[in-house]
């Protein structure tokens, strides 16, 4: 069953979310509004191996507040007649708005470390994160962007679809190749479901960027 996230004082959706769509300095243009990614989520259990095809589209980005949001579309979900689309909101671990410690959604700091360490790019940061959640780290020029993505609601199906969005994703975006890796965390689901996405260019020989501007 979907569980709404408890809003923190800094979890804001800003008007500049859209404005930052390539008109404000961006951490990475490939992580700006309109950008699409596709890949798979491994949902294997002890009983069987299974992977769902997944498409992600970035819809809003507000770097000042460490905020990112978008939709995630799961394509071959066995229980669903149509692709299942969910809306997610992301926290960018920028050490200003958010640290590596989740502090909510049922995740302890041990859970955090267990998941972050699954990303090889996290190992140089581990010792400092152990100390203060990474608060004192400067990640501005780090070639990876760490995030947490929390699905907020089902866009095109009802909550009775038999699926859950109770958990959240630990996400690592590679600024050098635009790929996204993630691990789903939900104490009631199979552990470490891996999300693997690559930037898509919709049949083009290159990259294309759109933008909007909220008033």
């Amino acid at each position: 069953m979907p569980v709404r996230v408890v809003e923190t004082s800094s979890a804001l959706s800003q008007p500049s979310g859209g404005t930052s769509g390539n008109t404000l300095p961006s951490v990475c243009t490939l992580l700006s509004v309109g950008q699409a990614f596709s890949g798979t989520q491994n949902v294997s259990s002890q009983q069987k191996d299974e992977a769902w095809r997944v498409n992600v589209r970035i819809q809003g980005c507000d770097l000042d507040h460490g905020y990112l949001c978008g939709t995630m579309e799961a394509l071959n979900v066995p229980m669903a007649d149509t692709p299942v689309v969910t809306f997610w909101e992301g926290e960018i671990v920028d050490t200003k708005n958010y640290t590596f410690f989740t502090g909510k959604w049922g995740a302890t700091s041990e859970d955090d470390i267990k998941h972050w360490t699954k990303f090889p790019s996290f190992s140089p940061l581990l010792s400092q994160v152990d100390v203060d959640g990474g608060k004192s780290l400067d990640l501005n020029n780090y070639p990876y962007i760490f995030m947490r993505w929390k699905e907020q609601y089902f866009v095109n199906v009802g909550t009775d679809c038999g699926l859950t969005i109770a958990g959240f994703y630990y996400v690592c975006f590679s600024s050098s190749d635009g790929s996204i890796n993630g691990f789903y965390y939900d104490p009631n689901s199979s552990p470490f479901q891996k999300l693997e996405l690559k930037s898509t260019n919709e049949g083009r020989l290159g990259f294309s960027f759109s933008s909007y501007e909220l008033q």
């Binding site: 800003q14 049949g203 290159g206 990259f207 294309s208 501007e213």
Partner: protein, 674 residues
Amino acid sequence: MPASASSAPPPPTHSRREDLIGRLSSSSSEAKLKALRDLKNQIIGNRTKKLCFLKLGAVPSVTSILSSSSATAAAAAAGSVCSGNDVELNDSLIIQSAAAIGSFACGFDDGVKAVLDAGAFPLLLRLISYPNDKVVGAAARSLKFIYQSKLAPRYDFLQRNNMEFIQSLLNSENENVTGLGASIITHSCWTSMEQKALSDAGIIKKLTCMLGGSVTQKDASLESLATILKGNPEVIAKFTEPENGGALGTVTELTKDKNARTRLLACICLIVIKNSAPSCLQDLRIKTKLILILLELLDDDQVGDEAPFALSSLIAEKEDLQVLAFEANVIDKLVNHLRKAPVLSRRLEGILIALANMCSRLERCRDRLLSLEAMKFVTDALSQDSGEVRAAACVCLKNVSRSVKNLSAGLFMNESFVAPLVQLLFDDLTFVQVSALDAISNIVVDFLAHKTMFMKCGGVKQLVQLSKSMDVTIRVKAVCALRNLTFLVSDKCKEEILSELTQLTLRSLICDPEACVQEQALALVRNLVDGPLDSIQHVFAEDALLLHAVGQQLQSASKAEVLIQGMYVFTNVASGNEVHKEAVMQELFPPLANECESIMSKFLHSDDSRLRTAAVWALVNLTFPSSSGAFGRVMKLRNAGIVSQLKNMVNDPCLDLRVRTALGQSVTSGDGST
């Protein structure tokens, strides 16, 4: 037989009024005095009668009495022989004519204009130094009413004599006179230089003393203090220093006054201080208290209309205050007021603006407003008679729809919002059109591919019309709305937008004289050529009219924002096939411009990292490894000096890493091939 003269009907109202006007010119002073009293009693608080007598020329007649009586008084003061009774009668004529003039001016701009046109203003001003205190009081009262209108002449505080006059007014024992002094300040103090001059002249101290006076004095003083302090941290610092007798504490105390208007004015004064010098009011309790007092004042008949505007000025653009207000249940309380139908225009406008400010930044506020099912009040207000209310409803909708979360859920793209908003694009009032365009700009971002609903309501047709407006604000906002509508839209919708807009209009918008319009038009084209590969063809229609227009704009524009959008158009086109990439090369490196520095080279040198990034993305696409002509283009870029420039940029820390990596690949592939 019932037939006698006494049964004749009374004269009609109109002739009775003309008769009264006639009596104002009577040769008998007593008759004039009675006529003045009759006139004053008739017009007091009655706008319709004021207008009637205004049309009958009452104001010049009354001013004439004031003038002649003042002259008589002056002659008596100069030594003419007059009996005590004559002096008393003459003073009464002055008092009554001044009072009648004040009544005409009170809360009625047409009356103020007539009073000023008749020349009553300097006569009243001279009477301030009259020996009879009652005369002075009457003149001061009338002048105060005049100064409450924006039509009143502006007073120049920077002239020394004028400042002395204000000081003398505020030093007076007469309450009407001190009130006049405060009104002049409230009306005429506009600049920081005037604020400082008033502060340096010790006016703040005098106004602070008035805070301990009657209700009228307190209110006049609070209004003036807010005017002098507004937006001026230097003057505020002086006001709050302890030597000023704890003035800040006194104002804070007045927020608890039993008079509602005094409480409101004290709150406004503190808000002015807080907005310009936040350190003066850091105590969280005061901020919360202000919010609670203003909420309570919403229920007051006298000041309930103004309270939401004061609340708005407290919370506008300030997230911390919005959090406090949210925690004080402001949204629920404002919505409860909306439920108490009917809400009159001014109050409705204020409540909608306050709700808009609450929802300007915080998602939780938007969620709360939506959960209270309050949007139906907002949509109802979109078709209210008052233009101000319609505009306020648009502002509220604009701010609520800043939520990507709710846009993504498709909450706003439905007929109840879209149909009235599209209607407002035809509104007679420009400010309503502007507000409607803002709301539409957000709503059409819609991520659920329901954009056709906006088109079905005739929205595109009207946006296109407004994009041709002579008013630059309307034009830029209309183009911005079209740009947002084109964001991630289906091909079919793109076709529809373009067929309405036409290539020629879009071209003229790209070349608009205003840079802000150029920027939005280029961003629109950028969205147009994003998405499926076929979309790129839009800029190649009609002999590549749009592509050439973008190229020309990139050659001639200077504003970074315009150039960035233009470069992203080229980036998107260059992500297409060989023909597309070559066309972009032609625009960037025209064959006849070999001698000049290319625009690409200029952009790579730009101080603006966003422009450098956009330019490099275009190069990444032009040299995309799997494209067959990449090698030839790398050669051309090398000859144009771009490759060597790129080598220097590989470590540009402002470029995002993906670009730097791709750059490295392009440069390396070029190197390896030669």
